[in-house]
């Protein structure tokens, strides 16, 4: 009871901040990552818009960004974050490094989902007179929806982890609580509750992702 009185407020606030950072960055990173993933696939040899140049450039950008550990990226992009948001502190500011870190991840997730698709289906669509855009919007993406959904839940879970790391640079959220109270003040009880909340959120997202993916999939 005493615990709730003391920490209830900040736990709720921390949870809200974590959810805000996570979902905002998921949405924005899909905005960039989805087209990148699509491009990575369609510009391959023997696909609908083969282009070695675009494929290589994009692949390289993705690989470079992915090979920078997130904790370093977090600090490295501070000047850029200031430019975009006006400050580098707080949940809103944390969305910037989160999006930069997650976009290449999303691109690869989308790429692998779209690559599962049978090439024959794309060919059939082309034989019916589909344009490349129609093939992407009406065939590749809808046909890959169950797999894309699963990918989005994995992305979301990864971003929860990233958002906790962003706590290090004062992003707020549950990671921030764990560092400030758990690490500096040895409030092990609060630390434990923080972990429980994170586990529950992750489980819920995983469950929802699996459930929706299965529900919309007509393959089985």
């Amino acid at each position: 009871m005493e615990f709730i009185n003391e920490f209830g407020g900040i736990l709720i606030k921390g949870t809200m901040e974590t959810l805000y950072m996570t979902f905002a960055s998921v949405l924005i990173s899909y905005l960039f990552g989805l087209p990148m993933g699509v491009l990575l696939v369609v510009t391959e040899d023997n696909h609908i818009m083969p282009s070695k140049t675009i494929n290589r450039i994009l692949g390289t950008i993705v690989n470079i960004t992915r090979s920078v550990p997130f904790i370093i990226l977090l600090i490295a992009v501070v000047p850029f974050t200031r430019m975009v948001v006006g400050t580098a502190i707080g949940s809103k500011a944390a969305v910037v490094p989160l999006v930069i870190g997650a976009t290449p991840f999303v691109a690869r997730m989308v790429e692998s989902s779209l690559k599962e698709l049978d090439k024959g289906i794309i060919e059939a669509a082309a034989s019916m007179g589909c344009s490349n855009m129609e093939i992407i919007y009406k065939v590749m993406i809808p046909e890959s929806m169950p797999s894309l959904t699963l990918g989005s839940s994995i992305t979301t879970i990864t971003l929860i982890g990233y958002s906790a790391m962003a706590g290090v640079i004062g992003a707020g959220g549950l990671g921030d609580l764990a560092i400030r109270y758990g690490y500096y003040r040895y409030e092990s009880e609060l630390m434990l509750v923080t972990i429980v909340i994170l586990v529950v959120i992750v489980q819920a997202i995983q469950f929802a992702g699996n459930h929706v993916s299965k529900k919309i999939n007509r393959l089985y």
Partner: protein, 235 residues
């Protein structure tokens, strides 16, 4: 209807060049059910895919109704493709769309209105005998039923030509016969010209009025089925 003129196809990749068609010419007339038969790797699929330019000939020309499609812009080619239906060995249906929506798909692409598309799709379902499956998904159908859906889909925009690449190779003999009969009735009642790729002489004998024999990138013999078959029997 279809004229293939001196078509050569060379596949190039890292390992080198591969000559899949070596200056092939062929003419398919309106109303024909034209069989193309040959062993695996002979170039049959390549040939049929050159008819709707899923594969671009390295050299040579392809004409549909007198128009050279090898010289067309992409947008023109897409229009022409809507008049060339195609079916495949493994059906290639949209697995996340139900039967009726699969048949509606090419209509949607061609810009046909919703109401009309639905009406047309129902007609086609009737034609292929799957009225009761309109809301099933492809994964719930047998191979023969899937190929019927594929045929309905290929016919949606009233094509002049139906290209079939090993359309019955994944099916058992009885189902094969029922699909061949369906193709024949489509040819007779709708006047659709059909090109059938196969490696089974039985398929040619059953429905083709003409046949071309293809052997390592060349057409070695073509003409009326009865003449060619006679020739084969002699050999």
């Amino acid at each position: 209807m279809i004229k293939i003129e001196n078509v050569t196809k060379i596949y190039s990749n890292k390992k080198g060049d591969f000559l899949a068609l070596d200056g092939v010419s062929l003419e398919v007339e309106k109303g024909d059910i034209y069989g193309v038969i040959g062993l695996s790797g002979a170039g049959k699929s390549t040939l049929v895919r050159c008819i709707n330019l899923l594969e671009r000939p390295t050299m040579g020309k392809v004409f549909i109704d007198g128009e050279e499609i090898t010289a067309m812009k992409k947008s023109e080619l897409r229009k022409v493709r809507q008049s060339l239906g195609m079916i495949f060995q493994d059906f290639n249906l949209l697995m996340q769309r139900n039967v009726i929506d699969n048949i509606r798909f090419p209509l949607e692409i061609a810009g046909v209105g919703k109401v009309e598309a639905k009406k047309r799709a129902l007609e086609l379902l009737n034609l292929v005998g799957l009225e009761d499956k309109s809301h099933s998904y492809p994964a719930q159908l047998s191979g023969g039923q899937k190929q019927r859906v594929a045929i309905a889909r290929a016919l949606a925009n009233n094509p002049k030509v139906l290209l079939c690449d090993e359309a019955t190779s994944a099916l058992d003999p009885v189902t094969t016969l029922s699909i061949l009969n369906l193709l024949k009735s489509i040819n007779q009642s709708m006047g659709v010209t059909i090109v059938i790729i196969t490696h089974e002489m039985k398929v040619v004998e059953t429905i083709c009025n003409k046949v071309a024999v293809i052997e390592s990138a060349n057409i070695v013999k073509n003409g009326l089925t009865k003449d060619i078959i006679g020739h084969f029997k002699e050999v």
